[in-house]
Each structure stands twice: as C-alpha cells, then as structure tokens.
C-alpha cells in the first residue's frame, strides 16, 4: 500500500469510527473509498460485530457490599482525623485560654499595681534631683510609663 492510500485509509477509518458514534460532522462521502477498499470495509464490519459485546459489558453492577466498605473506611477516617475547622477552633481556644491565664497569673503574682512607676523611677537613682525629676516628668516617654501626672485637685 502506498503512503497516500494508507493516509486515505486512516482518514476513512477515523471517519467510519466517528460515523458509528454519530459524531461525523463534515458529512464526508465515504462510499467511494469503501467501494475500492476491502480493508476499510472489513474494518467497518468488524466494528459493528463488537456491538453485542459492548452492550453486555455496560451491564456490570457493583457488589452489594461495596457501599458498606466505603462507609466503614470513611467512618474510620472521620474518627481518626476530625474536621480541620474543629481542629482550628480547638487550637484557638486553647491558645486564647493559655495566654489569658498566664497574663492573669502574672498580674496577680508578679507585678504590684504600681510597678510601672517604681520601675521608671528605678532607672534614675543617681541623677534624681528635684530638677531632673521635673524634667523626667515632663518627658512623654516617662508619662507613658507612669501615667500622666494628675493635678492636685484631682487627687
């Protein structure tokens, strides 16, 4: 068979295959080739000879136990691995409770209520004079640490 004939046979068989499936869109006339080509005629006959076999192979049903096995594996997975969202919520709650609890404990046991003022004043033991105290008291950083000085009439 020369290459041109082979190409034509290949195209004809592709078209025959698509025609069998009802998917031949270009409306090509295959009859001229089929009249002269016994090989392509045999191909068409062979394709139609398979049809009864295909019908039978379409009828396979899954075994009745398949669903129960899928369900068992799915349940085992669910028990072993809770949903991601639940994990995230639980981790968030534990983290929040831990940080809150630690802060509460530190506040109660380590830091006296006015510790900030003591700490700020302890930074300046050597230079502490009435002038430097007034100067420090006027600094915004100092005011942030110890709180803004209240006026006499507010005390």
């Amino acid at each position: 068979m020369n290459p041109l004939d082979e190409l034509e046979c290949r195209e004809t068989r592709a078209a025959l295959s698509a025609r069998l499936d009802g998917e031949l869109t270009n409306g090509r006339d295959l009859s001229i080739h089929l009249v002269h080509c016994g090989s392509c005629r045999d191909f068409e006959v062979s394709l139609s000879s398979f049809s009864a076999g295909w019908v039978e192979l379409r009828g396979s049903a899954p075994p009745a136990t398949l669903w129960s096995r899928i369900q068992a594996r799915s349940d085992a997975r669910t028990v072993r691995r809770p949903p991601k969202l639940a994990w995230r919520l639980a981790a968030g709650l534990v983290g929040f409770a831990g940080v809150g609890g630690a802060g509460w404990w530190l506040d109660r046991n380590v830091s006296p209520p006015d510790s900030r003022a003591h700490w700020a004043e302890s930074l300046t033991p050597i230079t502490r004079t009435p002038e430097t105290s007034a100067l420090f008291a006027s600094l915004p950083e100092y005011q942030l640490l110890v709180g803004f000085p209240r006026k006499e009439n507010e005390r």
């Binding site: 025959l16 698509a18 191909f43 062979s46 192979l57 049903a61 899954p62 096995r69 949903p83």
Partner: protein
C-alpha cells in the same frame, strides 16, 4: 444552588449522607469504569473505595466548570491509570501491552467480568490495549459518553478524542483478527 455544586460542598464539609448520596448517583459508573479499565473485580472494588474517599478530600477543588459526573469520571480515570502504571512498574508482565501479542495471556480466565462469549472476548481484547486506548474505548463504548464529554474528562481536544478512538478501534480489530486466526489455526499434526 446548582445540585452538583451543592453535593460537592456537602462532600467537602463531610455532611452526613453526602457520600452515600454521591455513591447512589455515581457508584455504578465508578465501579464499572474501574472494572473495565483495570480488568479484575478485586482491583475494581479497591479502586472504587479509594475513589470515593478521594472525592471527599478533593471536593473543595470542584469549581463547577464541568459537571460533577465529568469531574468524578476524571478522578476515576486518573486513579485507574495510576494503578495501571504502578502495576506496570511492579510487574511489567502483569498487564500485557497491545504490542506484545505473542506473550499476552489471550486465553486466561476472566472471572466475573462477562457472562457471554461476546462480552468475554471483548474484555480480553480490552485488556490487551494500551491504557490510553483502553480508557477512550471504555468511555465511549461502555459509558456512552459523547466526544465532548470524553474530551472534558481526559482534558484533551475533541479532535484528539476522535483520532484516538479510531486508532484504538483499529488496534482492537487487529487484535481480534489475530486472535481469531490463532483460534482457527489447525492443531499441529501428531507425529
């Protein structure tokens, strides 16, 4: 909401009954595809179980561009192709390639895969096709999908579906002819 999308969301969230609903709608198809591509009932049952568990894991990736059935077909086909590849790597003799006519177990028993001679003959031929050809034939002849649906499932152009199907059928006819000529060959004369 689109029922496909709704079922995918339920699967993703692990809602009770969602997996059963998916199985009722698609279980037969998934099993049948696995059976015809893999060729053994035990492998098909294992694969179908794996696939339904995969559906739950991957439901979040269902974007609704294709139908849910197409998406499930795609997962099924890819799973089966991966299984065949693993099997090929494990033991190349287990699933004969269609070029390997002489070594193929053409007359080995195929349990539970077909009831009639015509069905059994076709199943044997199917298993001697390459995985690529087998898949396209199964999607067309057994699942009766259109070329467009096959193209979406395999993520290839419809024109490629047409040519691949034609090649697969040519191969099938060739294999059938080789098998028939072997079976009709007269037995060698006894000395």
């Amino acid at each position: 909401m689109d029922p496909d999308r709704s079922l995918a969301l339920k699967l993703r969230d692990g809602e009770p009954g969602a997996l059963e609903n998916a199985y009722q709608l698609h279980g037969s198809r998934v099993y049948r595809l696995c059976l015809r591509i893999l060729g053994r009932t035990s492998d098909a049952e294992d694969a179908a179980q794996d696939i339904f568990l995969k559906l739950m894991e991957r439901a979040a990736s269902f974007d609704g561009r294709a139908r849910l059935s197409t998406w499930i077909h795609r997962i099924t086909v890819n799973h089966c192709l991966n299984q065949l590849e693993k099997e090929r790597l494990r033991d190349t003799a287990a699933l004969p390639h269609d070029d390997d006519l002489a070594g193929a177990p053409a007359d080995s028993p195929i349990e539970g895969l077909a009831r009639t001679e015509a069905g059994e003959r076709l199943q044997r031929l199917l298993l001697r096709l390459s995985p690529e050809h087998r898949v396209v034939i199964v999607l067309r002849e057994i699942e009766e999908l259109s070329y467009e649906e096959i193209a979406q499932t395999l993520e290839i152009p419809p024109g490629t579906v047409m040519s691949r199907l034609a090649r697969a059928r040519e191969r099938l006819v060739l294999l059938a002819g080789a098998r028939d000529s072997r079976s009709t060959k007269p037995a060698p004369a006894m000395p």
